[in-house]
């Protein structure tokens, strides 16, 4: 049976892409975060499922389903789409009731978008900018990638959000008051720089549009130079405030 250490290894030693995928899961799944926090080296998938079973009062059938899906997730790697999907299925199948792991896209009345958890914040800001700043750009969710076929959720162009002529944009949000964002952004820029992206066969101008919280401009400015050395144009603006 697979060891939970595999998950921890993916987080600590995995490829940047795998780490990013797992980090997203951690950000969006409180249960997963909790499991990692309490995990020990003796834990196995079975132990994890037992914990979930007790926590959510699952039936044996449900527990078995989670076990199977987690095995798939671990065997193919959480960094892969199949692995992440299997993990999500495992978590989803264990829920007796819908879990509020991903908050509503619209902030609650009066709540600042920068108070949302990172994934919801990113979606909220991207949604706003799609209708405003980027209204004349093509949103890549609506494009068809010849390699992957028709668009499906957001996996057709994983590192691009918008395209206009030869410019492709990846939009990210950073709260520079948090921890770990510089590691994440370096990983992200590395992914962008090592990807060959073309528009009509011509290498695209790759732009990373970063929106930071009011007052966060100075902290994040080093990413401009970091990106430039790697042929990524980094534009940073404050959002809100």
């Amino acid at each position: 049976m697979a060891d939970l250490n595999l998950i921890k290894d993916i987080v600590e030693y995995g490829s940047p892409k795998a780490r990013e995928a797992v980090q997203n899961l951690i950000n969006s799944n409180f249960e997963f975060q909790e499991m990692l926090a309490t995990a020990t080296t003796e834990h196995t998938v079975g132990d994890m499922v037992d914990t979930l079973k007790a926590k959510w009062n699952l039936s044996d059938a449900q527990a078995q389903e989670i076990t199977n899906d987690l095995k798939v997730a671990l065997s193919v790697g959480l960094g892969t789409a199949a692995g992440a999907l299997a993990y999500k299925r495992a978590i989803a199948s264990g829920k007796k009731q819908p879990q509020p792991s991903i908050p509503d896209l619209m902030p609650e009345g009066g709540k600042n978008v920068w108070d949302l958890e990172p994934r919801a914040r990113g979606r909220q800001i991207e949604s706003t900018l799609t209708d405003t700043d980027y209204k004349d750009w093509a949103r890549t969710d609506n494009l068809i990638n010849p390699k992957t076929g028709p668009p499906f959720k957001s996996n057709n162009f994983p590192v691009i959000d918008f395209q206009l002529e030869n410019n492709v944009v990846n939009l990210k949000t950073i709260d520079t008051r948090g921890k770990g964002w510089s590691y994440d952004m370096r990983t992200h820029i590395d992914t962008l720089q090592s990807s060959k992206i073309t528009v009509d066969g011509i290498p695209a101008t790759k732009i990373l549009d970063i929106r930071v919280q009011p007052g966060g401009l100075a902290d994040s400015s080093k990413l401009i130079e970091y990106g430039k050395q790697r042929n990524i144009t980094v534009i940073i603006k404050e959002f809100g405030g």
């Binding site: 600590e12 030693y13 995995g14 490829s15 940047p16 780490r19 900018l129 700043d133 980027y134 004349d136 206009l164 002529e165 410019n167 944009v169 770990g180 590691y183 370096r186 990983t187 590395d190 720089q193 090592s194 990807s195 060959k196 992206i197 290498p203 101008t205 790759k206 732009i207 549009d209 401009l217 100075a218 400015s221 401009i224 130079e225 430039k228 050395q229 790697r230 042929n231 144009t233 980094v234 534009i235 940073i236």
Partner: protein, 241 residues
């Protein structure tokens, strides 16, 4: 501090542990240091890095140590790999020894030693960089970054700066003193080796497949006077720019 920039052909991207391996002996002074993986934040000992890179099949790396960093990555669209050693070499001798460990690599294209502060401000275009560092920029020439809305920004025009660098396909149009240039790059740029050797104010050493050029007794630190003249002359001979 003397910063180092080394360019390799893109084929080296699959061999990043070899690049690290070449540097290890030269960085013996740091062998007891704790280092941080700049992509994940993971801490480890300097001596563990090679195994870590191999174990995780890392192609890019960003290792933070002793207040500096060693960064290796692929710039896919420009078909080159770059190695940057920042804020670590405290003498020109140390910079020399690091580069000497790399120039016999068949994928080696070019290298230079440079003054980080001078290089930074010669190449700073984004106004945010000036404002974040409280550096006056009103006297500097400006132009549009040429990007469509919402990415349009006024930037500093660095196109006449003697210390500017530009990413080109397979190489970086940059000058330094000292700098190393492979003969294969000189051939592809159609540089007359004899003309280079005959420039009175340059010291050019033939190292086999690489030429070492010393255009100034110290690293370039000024964009005026004799230093500016040397940078312009060197750029003109090497890059016809």
């Amino acid at each position: 501090m003397f910063d180092i920039e080394v360019v390799f052909s893109e084929g080296l991207y699959d061999s990043s542990p070899n690049v690290w391996g070449r540097l290890v002996q030269q960085l013996n002074d740091f062998k007891e240091f704790e280092v941080i993986d700049g992509f994940t934040g993971k801490k480890m000992l300097f001596g563990e890095v090679l195994r870590y890179l191999k174990q995780n099949k890392r192609k890019s790396f960003f290792v933070e140590l002793a207040g500096g960093s060693i960064e290796f990555s692929l710039v896919a669209d420009k078909e080159l790999c770059r190695l940057d050693i920042k804020n670590l070499a405290n003498s020109l001798e140390m910079a020399h020894s690091l580069i000497a460990a790399l120039i016999d690599e068949p994928a080696f294209v070019q290298a230079r030693v440079y003054d980080a502060e001078y290089d930074r401000w010669q190449n700073a275009e984004n106004i945010t960089l000036f404002e974040a560092a409280n550096v006056e920029h009103s006297h500097l020439p400006k132009k549009s970054n040429g990007l469509p809305f919402p990415l349009t920004q006024e930037v500093v025009d660095i196109s006449n700066n003697p210390g500017r660098w530009v990413l080109r396909k397979g190489y970086i149009e940059a000058v330094g003193s000292p700098m190393w240039v492979s003969k294969s790059l000189l051939n592809s740029l159609d540089v007359d080796e004899k003309e280079l050797m005959n420039v009175d104010c340059f010291s050019v050493e033939n190292l086999g497949s690489v030429l070492k050029i010393v255009a100034c007794e110290q690293c370039f630190t000024a964009d005026v006077g004799i230093q500016a003249e040397r940078q312009v002359m060197l750029r003109k001979i090497l890059f016809k720019a």
